[in-house]
């Protein structure tokens, strides 16, 4: 069985084909990285997987289930959580609150029990807090627990967003540029966390990243795309040395 499979996915925006017949497989327990120059269509692939956009053509399967047409809010129920390139946190809420929203799919209360805060709900809430506390410990967020997101520095927000995705207890994590905007130390931390997420938590990762050092440190497999098409597909080294990829990044030399 294939864990995650994208078959010939394409999407059109007006006349532009932002993603063009891209296919790839992700194996369970690996870190799969998508690289490519700006505007290549990486984020668009994520938005297709999380069903923000409708596919024009193609098919996506996850654990042998066709997920091409599930509603957007159901994707996380299947076990696919994500982060956003431009950080989409709940700005006016605390870190704890944000992480608790990550537990939403595991909250099994009725509207009635919410209104009266019945004892069963109280028990469940305590359980969710315990789970959230595990994530806080894992990512070293103790210090920020009760701070509002709007008062946090950029690097911490990135980590909170990662934490929120982990709170959903996913099987597959989509990370859109987890290291963008981070300094060298923070990037180093991020690379350890991604490794831990894979090895300790057993969560598979699809990542978009520009930082080649991080890419080669954590990835098991790399897919390079440009103009919505696949350029190369293979081990990190192979892809980095692929002439098409080098050309795409450095630009074409007209004299040659």
């Amino acid at each position: 069985m294939t864990f995650f499979k994208a078959e010939n996915i394409s999407i059109d925006f007006g006349g532009i084909r932002a993603v063009n017949e891209v296919s790839f497989d992700v194996e369970k327990g690996t870190v799969f990285t998508i690289v490519g120059p700006n505007g290549a269509g990486k984020t668009t692939i994520f938005n297709i997987i999380s069903r923000i956009y409708n596919l024009s053509e193609g098919r996506i399967t996850f654990e042998d289930k066709d997920i091409t047409h599930v509603p957007a809010h159901q994707v996380v129920n299947l076990g696919i959580a994500r982060t956003f390139q431009n950080i989409e946190l709940f700005e006016h809420a605390t870190v704890l609150h944000n992480l608790l929203i990550g537990r939403h799919i595991h909250c099994r209360s009725t509207f009635f029990s919410d209104l009266f805060f019945l004892p069963s709900l109280k028990r469940m809430e305590l359980e969710h807090r315990r789970k959230v506390e595990d994530v806080i410990d894992f990512l070293d967020l103790q210090h920020y627990r009760n701070q509002l997101i709007q008062n946090l520095p950029y690097g911490v927000r990135k980590i909170v967003e990662l934490g929120r995705a982990l709170c959903t207890e996913p099987k597959l994590l989509l990370l859109d540029e987890p290291a963008s905007g981070l300094n060298v130390d923070e990037t180093e931390d991020m690379s350890f966390w991604i490794d831990d997420i894979k090895k300790l938590l057993g969560i598979s990762v699809i990542m978009v990243e520009h930082n080649m050092k991080l890419v080669s440190q954590v990835s098991d497999h790399v897919l390079a795309i440009n103009y919505g098409r696949v350029l190369a597909d293979g081990k990190p080294r192979e892809v980095q040395e692929n002439p098409d990829v080098i050309k795409a990044y450095l630009g074409e030399d007209k004299d040659v």
Binding site: I52, V75, A93, F111, S113
Partner: protein
């Protein structure tokens, strides 16, 4: 300065977080209970009126302050609650059932109206809700057999277990009891998964959806429960007015309700209460001020709505966190004295995302 060490998860969940809360809220409740024995009838009546506003304010705070759905049509829910209650009482239905049914009808209308509105955001949502309120006003004006049309309808005194609530202090306690019940439910909602989902939708729809929150369902829930609370307020309002006409529930009332939550402080339960006190007292202050103003200004038509608008704008510009935000800063100043820094709240922003036209 009080420092609270958190030793269990329960501390975050509890409504009364420490003994200071119990003490001060206990005193407040005691003062409210003995007020009718101390204050004159006029003041008791005005306080009951503030309680009604507070119930409606809590109702409006849920969609506007928590879910981020700016409603300009909440007078419609007041109207539905008021007319339904008056109608059922005429039919001889006991008061508690009648007011509950009034809330329930308002709840259902809130749920139904959100189905077409659920994909709209910001200014479009506001305009659609305004249109809804106008439609409700028209229906009331024309549905003579139930509402008495433009001629209006009278409201019977509430009768509870054969006991007629005909004096001001009866009504005062009735309003207080319902306010406390609604307040309790609102506070519960805010600390529950539903309340968190509302806040998530307010702050980022795209990421709320990616966390598994069904946007339509939660917007509908938010508006429905808001309809229920505001409907209850309307039912009580009917008794306060004692005679209902459609123009008692016009656009101005919607604006007044909105001003209440904005001035009180969006996104807080306290804000609804602070706002109700403010809106309840404002007309008195204006009435007193009129006597001292030159007649050209004091007798100017439309002075009140004009002032409402100006006050709302001033708050949005200078104190987006409302009266409650002011209060928090005031408290913090004394808690932290002499360490308070002016920059502590530098990064605050308002929640009302009408500028998010997408």
């Amino acid at each position: 300065m009080r420092i609270i060490f958190k030793t269990s998860y329960l501390q975050d969940i509890k409504l009364l977080k420490h003994n200071g809360y119990i003490f001060w809220y206990g005193i407040l409740l005691f003062a409210l209970l003995i007020a009718p024995a101390v204050l004159g009838e006029f003041y008791i009546g005005e306080m009951a009126f503030i309680f009604i506003y507070a119930i409606a304010g809590l109702g409006l705070m849920i969609p506007v302050g928590f879910t981020g759905l700016p409603s300009l049509g909440h007078a419609a829910f007041m109207a539905i609650g008021a007319y339904a209650n008056a109608y059922f009482l005429h039919k001889g239905i006991p008061f508690f059932i009648s007011i509950f049914l009034a809330g329930l009808i308002s709840f259902s209308v809130g749920a139904l109206i959100t189905i077409p509105l659920r994909k709209m955001t910001g200014i479009y949502f506001a305009i659609a809700s305004l249109a809804f309120a106008i439609i409700v006003e028209e229906i009331i004006a024309h549905w003579k057999s139930v509402t008495g049309g433009l001629g209006g309808m009278s409201v019977d005194y509430p009768v509870i277990f054969g006991f007629e609530l005909d004096s001001t202090w009866h009504f005062y306690f009735l309003c207080l009891a319902i306010l406390l019940a609604v307040l309790y439910c609102a506070l519960n909602l805010v600390r529950s998964p539903s309340g968190r989902a509302f806040i998530a939708i307010r702050d980022s729809e795209i990421s709320a959806e990616s966390m598994g929150i069904n946007l339509s369902i939660y917007k509908i829930k938010s508006f429905a429960i808001s309809g229920f609370f505001t409907g209850l307020a309307g039912a009580l309002f009917a008794h306060r007015l004692s005679y209902l006409t459609p123009d008692a529930f016009n656009f101005l009332l919607s604006i007044q309700l909105l001003m209440m939550v904005v001035v009180g402080g969006l996104g807080t339960v306290h804000g609804a209460i602070f706002g109700a006190i403010f809106v309840g007292l404002l007309p008195q202050v204006i009435a007193i001020a009129k006597d001292y103003l030159p007649p050209a200004i004091g007798q100017f038509p439309g002075l009140e709505p004009g002032l409402f608008g100006i006050i709302m704008v001033l708050f949005i510009i200078f104190e987006p966190m409302g009266l409650y935000g002011r209060w928090v800063k005031f408290k913090l100043y004394f808690d932290m004295f002499p360490l308070y820094r002016k920059a502590t709240f530098k990064r605050q922003k308002t929640y009302l995302k009408t500028e998010r036209v997408q």
